[in-house]
């Protein structure tokens, strides 16, 4: 090859390589454990440092959850799995409503849990998955001041929009599995619409309840 052509080729390839490396990786390429670590740290740091949240401002916590965590949660998949075989029997309208109500309930519950964080730390365990897996489990534990650490694991699946959380495990119990019984019982009793109504009622109840107050 002529030296000039060789030089041009080298420069071009270097420029090309640099531009590819320098360009920020698209969000969809973030590894699942990196993703969970990141949003976990962001949320906890915010909760610990924000005076309003420490005082029990529910709306602020929910905003935090909605903006930082929810984009990475596949609420529909969660609901579909909790509903089991009834999911296929539901109309798209029912599916949509059910997902929304379930997601809202989870946001309330998770916000309640976040508001109790004082000075706990979260420790992540090495993830045991190969790079080609599309369904992984990220394991962590919350180190509390008293007693054994609380296990907190996440199941993520890779879809078109990147990795999304579709199940959470606290202290050994998977959320979807735990709600399955309740969902099934309620659907058997009053159908899918009955379940949706029940969830909506509960959400309304939680909306009016202030945080950190002793229950009657």
């Amino acid at each position: 090859m002529k030296p000039i052509a060789h030089l041009i080729a080298t420069v071009a390839s270097v420029a090309f390589a640099t531009s590819v490396i320098a360009a920020p990786a698209p969000a969809t390429n973030e590894a699942p454990d990196v993703l969970v670590k990141r949003i976990s740290a962001e949320v906890i740091d915010t909760v610990k440092s924000d005076k309003d949240i420490q005082a029990g401002n529910r709306n602020k916590i929910m905003d935090l959850v909605n903006s930082k965590i929810l984009p990475y949660v596949d609420a529909e998949k969660m609901t579909a799995q909790a509903a089991g075989r009834f999911w296929r029997q539901a109309t798209p309208e029912q599916q949509k409503r059910l997902s929304e109500e379930f997601r809202t309930l989870l946001v309330y519950t998770y916000s309640g849990a976040l508001s109790t964080i004082k000075n706990e730390t979260v420790e992540f365990k090495p993830m045991r998955a190969s790079p080609t897996d599309t369904d992984v489990e990220v394991r962590s534990q919350v180190n509390v001041s008293r007693g054994e650490p609380i296990t907190l694991n996440y199941r993520l699946a890779k879809g078109d929009g990147g990795w999304k959380i579709y199940d959470i495990n606290v202290l050994g119990a998977w959320l979807v599995e735990t709600y399955k019984g309740t969902f099934t019982a309620e659907i058997n009793k009053s159908g899918i619409d009955g379940l949706i109504t029940r969830l909506a009622e509960r959400n309304k109840q939680l909306a009016s309840k202030p945080l950190n107050t002793p229950k009657k």
Partner: protein, 275 residues
Amino acid sequence: MKSNKMSTLPRLSGLALAVTACAVLSGCATSANPQDPFEKFNRASFAFNDTVDRTVLKPVATGYKNVTPGFVQTGVGNFFGNLSDAWSAVNNLLQGKGEAGMTDVTRVALNSTFGILGLLDIASEAGLQKHNEDFGQTLGYWGVPSGPFLMLPLLGPSTIRDTSALPADRWGDPWKYKDPHNWRNIGSGVRVIDQRASLLDASNLLEEAALDRYEFLRDGYLQRRQSQVYDGNVPRAAAEDDGDDAPTSSSQVVPLPASPAPAEPAAAETPAKTQ
């Protein structure tokens, strides 16, 4: 007269177990749920426990938590935690988990001496992890299935296997052998309150998250129990009961393959981690 007061607490739990046995055997198994054959009895038990909790235990535990100085609460927790470490050690060794068992033995040795009779948990600070083993888990480890869910009056959620393991747990509880009977009862009472206080946040969360608290508690408890038997590494095949709810959501365009636990052969083929 005095002799009656001495053994009230163990007698009460003995009575609770006897009542349970009678109620269960008298054929309460007429519920529709195949996974919870004792549901009627369990729900009644749950309602009873809930009343006792609401009227007595929770208020006392809340008061204890709010009023007692932090270091006292920590001391109480550490003291009884140290006693339970001894039984954890025995069970770890029974399960053949030598390292965990010896860690527990070391914990007890350290905390009982340098930790001033267990009031200080210096073993945890030294990096010795605390385990939480009991005889029910030992039975589970050796293959005894848990059996149906059983909500015990006063004693709380359990399973057939774990209930039958209770006498062993009782035998392995060092506090049972504490001699002045008044001290023993007071100690047991304090232990119960301390444990309830440590669960206050969790129970508040349960109130919010659950549509039906009994079901939520039952299903969550059974999973947690299984997780404890497997020490957190429940094989996924064992966890999923019914095959028809395998992850094939109809809303997905491309159904995900039901992938098993992380494929280690695949990991071996790709040693370099590409980020």
